[in-house]
């Protein structure tokens, strides 16, 4: 127990005196996972809309693949992205392995199926006649899509939260494609792993505590958005 209290105390101390290294790691985590989530929202919701609004052969297979993708192990993603970005790999010419960009790429691969899968479920849960009702009220196609997204905003924001939660907390892919390089690709989770392996439990606890606060803050903002426009 003492270890935990000591960790909390250190975390507070690190936070209060705005330790530059911790601050940098925290901001990088937020930036990398935030951008990855945004990318995944665009890709995932686009995919969800495309599948929800169209009938095509093999639709069920696509949905099954999306749902499988929701459980992609980060280390597997890390492995594939590493091979992809490796100097001699197909995307090696980009030269982004062991940069924050590589982490963003890997995290997007993790979060996109989560947001697509949960987003599709949210859209498919809407009443089947709603689309025709909206069109018969005079909506253009883009107005209809906007209204459908707004009608499903609660589960859709839950999908965004799940996506963000998935990437801010993952460590396998980040460490493999980022390399945990101090000052450039070290994020909260990779730093925690490193400090724990070195036996610096207090610092590891402090970093974990910051990670939890960060996750809570982002989700609190999203929850506020989610519940805001609900009439009572």
């Amino acid at each position: 127990m003492d270890l935990i209290w000591e960790g909390l105390r250190q975390a507070l101390e690190l936070l209060l005196r705005l330790d530059p290294e911790v601050l940098q790691i925290t901001l990088l985590s937020l930036k990398v996972s935030g951008i990855a989530t945004l990318l995944s929202v665009v890709l995932g919701l686009g995919l969800a809309l495309g599948v929800a609004l169209n009938e095509f052969p093999g639709k069920r297979l696509v949905i099954a693949l999306m749902n499988t993708g929701m459980g992609l192990p980060p280390v597997v993603v890390g492995l594939f992205v590493t091979v992809l970005l490796w100097r001699n790999g197909p995307l090696g010419f980009l030269g982004i392995l062991y940069t924050p960009l590589a982490i963003i790429l890997a995290q997007s691969v993790i979060a996109t199926p989560i947001i697509a899968g949960l987003g599709l479920a949210a859209l498919q849960h809407l009443p089947p006649g709603l689309r025709l009702q909206i069109l018969s009220l005079g909506a253009t196609r883009s107005q209809m899509i906007w209204l459908l997204l707004r009608e499903a905003r609660l589960p859709l924001l839950a999908a965004v939260m799940a996506g963000f939660g998935g990437v801010i907390s993952e460590v396998g892919a980040s460490i493999m494609v980022g390399g945990n390089l101090k000052g450039s690709t070290r994020v909260l989770t990779t730093a925690t792993v490193m400090e724990t392996s070195r036996g610096n439990f207090e610092i590891a606890f402090a970093l974990s505590f910051i990670l939890l606060v960060l996750a809570f803050t982002v989700n609190a903002v999203l929850t506020h958005l989610q519940q805001r426009s609900r009439p009572r």
Binding site: P127, G129, L132, S136, L137, G138, P231
Partner: protein
């Protein structure tokens, strides 16, 4: 007076999964009329309505609005802003009643100030004035459907499509809403297409009736015409002509024919208005509300047909009771609760069933031995 044709459909066909689900050679919707589409589930009412509303592109056929053909996606989009539709489910948005009523106006780009005035007006006309700030999720079924109707009427549509709008409501709520809808349609002169499987609803709201079966319109015409002169047994049964009699014409004189029902004792003859050749087989129908029951033969009655019979079944049916009789042939009558108790109607009771010759409608004529 011929009214302007608003919507014209020609050679409409819809195929789904390899099967033809709709085939309507011609349908004209005239300005100001209410056309009811009637038929059992799966008859194609909703498919026809969605096609007419530009929401379902037909596999083949043409649709013209005010004389202009709807060809492209853009044509249909523009057309959809001239019409609107109310479905069986209210399909309200997760927002307030006021926001819901305003939603179509907003989509069509009506300015906020005008929107507000029109929403207030239509909320009042549908009795929703006190519920404007209520969440749509908290409405009763009736209130929700009123909101859906307000959201449609506020658009001042050229054509209002109503797809079984009352099917999910309880009887009392439905009664009130049908009455109000009838008033609003009359006040605004809105052209409407209504689908229903309830003949009472159609009778109260529609001017014209189209009866559908298996994707086709089997009979279309004025409300009274279809109700009283169904052209085939399916339509007859569907519009509530519950007594159907098949028999041979024994006599025809001065516009009155006598028919001997195929079933039943040979001495019974049903007199109907119509022309037919003696010996010809015909099918006639009698609406249950045109049959009067009494305990004794009433000689002062003008009814040409009076048959003694036995009550076989009494079925409560809303405000009426449906009485099934065995008069040698099967006959159905509707009576009020008062008549039911006065006549002591119950299975086994002997009564006299009377109906006028004008109440018997010749549905179909065949040859001497034709199967009908």
């Amino acid at each position: 007076m011929t009214r302007q044709t608003l919507l014209q459909a020609r050679h409409l066909r819809v195929r789904r999964g390899g099967a033809q689900v709709l085939e309507v050679p011609a349908l004209d919707l005239r300005a100001g009329e209410v056309l009811a589409l009637m038929g059992p589930n799966g008859a194609g009412k909703t498919t026809l309505m969605l096609t007419l509303a530009g929401l379902l592109p037909p596999t083949a056929g043409e649709l013209s609005f005010r004389g202009t053909q709807l060809h492209s996606h853009a044509d249909r989009q523009a057309f959809r802003r001239r019409i609107t539709m109310v479905f069986q489910d209210p399909l309200l948005f997760d927002a307030t009643v006021a926001q819901n009523i305003a939603s179509g106006l907003k989509l069509r780009g009506v300015p906020a100030a005008e929107r507000q005035a029109r929403v207030a007006d239509w909320a009042r006309r549908l009795g929703l004035g006190d519920l404007l700030n209520r969440s749509a999720r908290q409405l009763s079924g009736g209130e929700a459907q009123r909101t859906a109707l307000a959201r449609a009427f506020v658009l001042n549509p050229d054509i209002l499509f109503l797809d079984e709008p009352f099917s999910s409501l309880d009887a009392a709520t439905r009664e009130g809403l049908i009455g109000d809808l009838g008033d609003l349609l009359a006040q605004t002169g809105t052209t409407a297409v209504l689908s229903t499987h309830d003949q009472g609803e159609a009778a109260r709201l529609a001017h014209r009736l189209a009866v559908m079966q298996q994707g086709r319109i089997v009979q279309m015409g004025g409300l009274r015409e279809v109700m009283n002169h169904p052209e085939d047994p399916f339509v007859a049964a569907f519009v509530g002509m519950e007594t159907l009699l098949k028999g041979q014409v024994v006599r025809c004189h001065e516009g009155l024919l006598s028919l001997r029902p195929r079933k039943g004792p040979g001495d019974r003859e049903v007199v109907a208005v119509g022309e037919a050749q003696p010996g010809q087989t015909i099918l006639v129908g009698v609406r249950p509300e045109h049959v009067f029951l009494s305990l004794h033969t009433d000689n002062t009655s003008s009814a040409r047909n009076a048959f003694p019979g036995t009550v076989t079944k009494v079925i409560p049916q809303g405000p009426f009771f449906k009485v099934e009789l065995d008069c040698g042939f099967f006959l159905v009558a509707y009576v009020t609760a008062q008549s039911l108790s006065e006549l002591g109607l119950a299975p086994g009771r002997r009564v006299v069933a009377a109906f006028k010759a004008t109440a018997v409608h010749v549905i179909r004529k065949g040859g001497p031995d034709a199967e009908l």
